[in-house]
């Protein structure tokens, strides 16, 4: 017999696209012809090995996904990519501690605020505004991130990491405190007057982190915020009015200024360490 299987026919045969009579003919021929057996073996390897690699990679990915921490799986269910979830999962323990502290602090402040007296409600506003600030301070830095030295020498933008982690801490903190504000709803929108100063303080501390470690920046801003009513030495009702009135504009201005500084100077952050 002098015929040989051509490469196209061999490929069709391997991929099971030949008719029954062709297959029978090829299979009768193969045991008698070394050349065609080699051809079919080569085509089989070329066709199936990449497929096997692909299947293996998919199996490995499914196994990898199955063993991811629950916090990361929860974040991917919320729509985040697995990469973003992993970047956030790295410091999830710090964020969980913070959330617990937020719940506790807001709870204590609420008990005080429910008494209906201005002084206690003022304490609630002060404490609630500190939430976003603390969330930001816990988002980054050597103290909350054991692998900080690796994060700051990797090619990924440090600002991306900072903003991602800040958002991840800020969102639940604002949500919890926002829900708490509903409990003192009889005060009207003033119950939410902490939100803008809180976010402004967070942005200001981020801007200051260009020059000093973010924990120091946040501590300084928090001290100023807590000390201001003491220094002002005005009745609680006046302080609440000031927070809900001109204080909102001041907070907006401070946040805008800090955002401007961040936009212009952010490249310094990843190389500031001393």
């Amino acid at each position: 017999m002098s015929w040989h299987i051509n490469p196209a026919a061999a490929k069709d045969y391997v991929e099971q696209r030949r008719s029954g009579s062709d297959v029978a003919s090829i299979e009768v021929h193969l045991p008698t012809c070394d050349e065609c057996r080699r051809l079919v073996a080569d085509v089989t390897a070329a066709t199936h090995e990449p497929l096997l690699d692909l299947v293996w990679q998919r199996v490995a990915t499914v196994l990898d996904d199955a063993t991811r921490p629950w916090s990361e799986r929860a974040l991917t269910r919320l729509g985040l990519s697995t990469e973003t979830a992993r970047l956030l999962g790295a410091t999830s323990r710090a964020r969980l501690s913070f959330l617990f502290a937020t719940l506790l602090t807001v709870g204590i402040a609420l008990v005080a605020a429910r008494s209906g007296r201005d002084a206690q409600f003022g304490v609630f506003l002060s404490v609630a505004a500190l939430g976003p600030l603390v969330a930001t301070a816990l988002a980054f830095g050597r103290r909350v991130d054991p692998a900080h030295a690796l994060v700051t020498t990797a090619p990924t933008s440090i600002w991306r990491i900072v903003l991602l982690r800040t958002a991840a801490s800020l969102t639940p903190a604002v949500a919890i405190t926002g829900l708490a504000s509903l409990i003192v709803h009889e005060r009207g929108w003033v119950a939410m007057a902490w939100l803008l100063p809180g976010i402004a303080m967070a942005v200001v501390s981020l801007a200051l982190s260009i020059w000093v470690p973010i924990e120091h920046a946040a501590l300084g801003v928090a001290t100023a915020w807590v000390a201001a009513p003491v220094v002002a030495s005005r009745p609680a009702a006046e302080l609440i009015d000031a927070t809900a009135g001109p204080g909102q504009l001041v907070a907006l201005g401070a946040a805008a200024l800090a955002a401007l500084v961040i936009t212009n100077r952010r490249s310094f952050l990843d190389f500031r360490e001393t």
Partner: protein, 290 residues
Amino acid sequence: MDTFDQTYVHVHQLIKSYGRHTALDGVSLELGPGITDLLGRNGAGKTTLLRILATGLARSSGEVRVLGEDPEDAAGRLAIRRQLGYVPQESALYESFTPFDFVDYVAILKEHTDRAARHAEVRRVLDAVDLGDVTRKKVRKLSGGMKRRVSLAQALLGDPRLLVLDEPTVGLDPEQRLRFRQLISRHADRRCVVLSTHMTEDVEALCDRVIVIDEGVVRFDGTPVELTETARGNVWIADRPEPSALVSWRTGEGRHRHIGSAPADAELVTPTLQDGYLLLSGGLSEEVAA
């Protein structure tokens, strides 16, 4: 051709100060392919120099080029970071992560965007440091040596052109150190590795070059053999201690080894790298004594 084909690191009159303390005081050196060890006491300035090379710390003054780029320039810094593997001295891991999770996390930071390819690379580097069997064990359950190997694995991601390793062999047992030598020597065939280690046996076995730093100044720059030779004629064995010797200790055979002065009946012996380092640094430092 740009200069960094052969000169991976160029440092000239580098000064780094922390307030009044000067950690590096006019350091100049050039590094090419191969393995260079920084040797010196704790606080000598080794870690500061490594952090500057790894783009984790800004210099106070002087000139630094890493892989042909200036770390002070944002674009240059990014280019360096894309070709860098770094094991920091204090490389703590996330305890709740597995080795796989942690190395995958660093791979994401290193812009390995394709998930399947990234996971394959993570498995490759974990296998390279013999952690293929514990990829799913929590980091908190690993020994100190295993944790150090996880740190080393992340540094190998992407086969970087420059490896900066700050005390990479701390916590490794003798067998693991041997494997570390094999791994790093294979990598250094076509790469630049700069490390700090106090293990003088590792330096002798592994490094092409040794740089001794003391109080922020380069005291010696040469091969391990050259450093060893600086002690020739100054190392003695005797039956009794010699108080005037620079360094003196009792050996396992019950005799006394002296560097510097020796008793009249002492025999001159062949020096080791450690002898050379001790003679150069003027005596026992805390770390060598340990």
